[in-house]
């Protein structure tokens, strides 16, 4: 199992470094911008007031402003770019199994004395490790960068964000691994995973806009990634974390059972 995990991480080392670097560079950019933005915080707050309420709801920034680095990052980094980065990272790592099936390299692995279950679990653990490394690097880097820039920060909130962010990434790993267990082509796997995530995103928006459909938010992973509450207010909902991890566990188990039973076709 250990060699499966280390080998999977080694094979995708470059892309993991690129993703982490992108996350950190974005942080550097936002933190560098923050002092000038903070000076105009009151004007910005007025500007937000003029935005349609629905838009603020969709971006989950209704009660936020730019008075602290946490509020600023919740709006700029964690409302869109960071979730996108972790989604791409998780899908890319979780696609390693279907990539092996498509290219036929899975024959080489499965002719070694290793069970399908161990292979599947090994690859999932490698993906989760990558998500964890990315979460730690791209979230906790705020602390040294802000310290160097002389900006006040609340360290505890960033640690809480790592927990929520990792759980969100784990849920994406679960979804992508389940799709990977179902198909033999990467294209289909990415299409299904992407399709489900877009649907979930839409559910989240509709739930915020239509009071009668507010229940739809519980079917969306994006609902549980509430950076506004975690970073700006320091409130981490354990039920949201458990919901994300529960989704991850269920999809990972379902994927394992399907992968155990399916036919392995080497691509033509």
């Amino acid at each position: 199992m250990y060699s499966i995990i280390t080998r999977a991480l080694k094979d995708k080392k470059s892309s993991l470094i690129i993703f982490c670097a992108a996350g950190i560079l974005l942080l550097v950019l936002y933190i560098a911008l923050f002092p000038s933005i903070q000076e105009q915080s009151s004007q910005m707050a007025k500007m937000f007031d003029s935005y349609p309420k629905a838009m603020l709801k969709i971006l989950n920034i209704e009660d936020l402003n730019f008075s602290t680095i946490e509020k600023f990052l919740a709006i700029e980094q964690y409302s869109f770019t960071w979730p996108l980065l972790i989604i791409f990272l998780a899908i890319s790592f979780s696609g390693s199994l279907v990539r092996d099936i498509e290219r036929g390299t899975i024959d080489f692995v499965l002719t070694r004395p290793i069970s399908r279950m161990r292979l599947y679990v090994g690859r999932v653990l490698a993906s989760l490790s990558a998500v964890l490394m990315f979460s730690v690097a791209s979230i906790l880097s705020t602390i040294p960068i802000a310290a160097i820039a002389g900006i006040d920060f609340i360290a505890g909130n960033h640690f809480k964000m790592v927990i929520v962010g990792f759980s969100f990434g784990a849920a994406i790993v679960g979804l992508a691994s389940l799709a990977g267990a179902l198909y033999s082509e990467r294209g289909k796997t990415y299409l299904v995973t992407g399709g489900v995530l877009i649907l979930m995103y839409v559910f989240n928006i509709i739930a915020k806009l239509k009071d009668g459909l507010s229940g739809l938010q519980y079917f969306s992973l994006f609902h549980y990634l509430d950076a506004g509450s975690v970073l700006a207010r320091g409130i981490m909902s354990w039920s949201a974390v458990f919901a994300l991890l529960y989704f991850a566990v269920i999809t990972i188990i379902a994927g394992a059972l399907i992968f155990q039973k399916r036919d392995i076709y080497a691509a033509a």
Partner: protein, 333 residues
């Protein structure tokens, strides 16, 4: 097991009988329980009633065969006959719709991990990680075994540089790496699916030598091929597969013995009518200006007697090659 019994069971398998039916017939013939055990349970690879369907396609349709220790068993058939599907079921990559596969007396699915330690698998076109070196493939493989490997010895013998990345290797060298990976732990069973497909003739010879060497050391080999000359040269026994069914299982020497002749005969005077020459096992395959080209299966004397009623100018008798025998099987079935 004696070759007579082996051939009897092989013939019953060819006719589509499952092991249970064959055992009943042998019991009725007076076989003891111990004899049955030794006939059926000592096979190293034992496939019984294997079926694998893909939607409406019967890729493998109820095949059975047994391979004994040290045998090199050929699985012969053209592309699409079901060889690779059967092998992928044996390797537990595909889940059969029916049937049982036992390797080294263990169920191939229940004991898949354990069995993989003793199986050296080689596909026709090895697919490896392009960014890994040969040595990385070897090291990755070694991490799952608890015994020393012979990778360096085999690589040296095949003149393969293990330090190169797979993407920099030619298709022949990739296949060599596949051979190294298949043989590095001296497996008891070799399952090679068209192993010489991408190899040049020199390397083909090396592969045949390695297979024979492994067999001499007690390894059991299942090798698929669509190349009859290859099977004839390497294998002890062969199963011919067509449209997912086994249409013949026999020892190579017996197949060679199948009497089949191509006879070109020219006549003086009146050319006999075709009907005057045709009898059981005789087919006219070409009509010449003053004679015929005839294919005769079985006893040649009846045909010669028949021909002697006419004035023969010239006659040329050629014994059919194994390829002709194989093609005849295909036409008949």
């Amino acid at each position: 097991m004696s070759s007579e019994i082996q051939n009897y069971i092989g013939e019953m398998h060819r006719l589509g009988y499952a092991d249970a039916d064959i055992k009943v017939s042998l019991r009725e013939a007076g076989w003891s329980y111990d004899q049955l055990i030794s006939a059926f349970d000592n096979a190293v690879i034992h496939v019984d009633g294997l079926k694998k369907y893909f939607k409406n396609t019967k890729a493998v349709d109820g095949i059975s065969f047994m391979i004994e220790k040290g045998e090199i068993f050929g699985f012969l058939g053209p592309n699409g006959a079901g060889k690779t599907t059967a092998i992928r079921c044996i390797m537990d990559f595909l889940r059969p719709d029916a049937g049982q596969i036992r390797i080294l007396k263990k169920d191939s699915r229940l004991h898949t991990v354990e069995l993989k330690s003793d199986i050296g698998y080689l596909p026709g076109e090895v697919r490896l990680y392009e960014n890994w070196t040969g040595q990385e493939h070897v090291d990755f493989s070694s991490s799952f075994y608890k015994r020393p490997d012979r990778a360096k010895y085999i690589a040296d013998r095949l003149t393969l540089d293990l330090s190169k990345k797979t993407k920099d290797l030619s298709s022949g060298n990739k296949q060599k790496l596949g051979i190294v990976l298949a043989l590095m732990f001296e497996p008891q069973v070799l399952i090679w699916d068209e192993p010489t497909l991408t190899l040049d003739p020199l390397l083909q010879q090396e592969v045949y030598a390695l297979l024979k060497e492994a067999s001499n050391n007690g390894a059991t080999v299942l090798m698929s091929s669509h190349n009859l000359a290859e099977v004839e040269r390497v294998c002890n026994r062969v199963a011919i597969i067509k449209q997912g069914k086994i249409i013949a299982i026999d020892e190579i020497k017996n197949l060679r013995k199948k009497n089949m002749y191509t006879i070109t005969v020219h006549f003086f005077g009146i050319l006999p009518e075709k009907d005057e020459l045709i009898s059981d096992g005789v087919k006219i395959i070409d009509e010449l200006e003053r004679g015929y080209v005839v294919k005769v299966s079985g006893d040649i004397n009846r045909f010669l007697k028949n021909v002697s009623r006419f004035q023969v100018e010239d006659i040329n008798i050629e014994k059919a090659s194994l390829e002709d025998v194989f093609l005849e099987f295909y036409k008949e079935n």
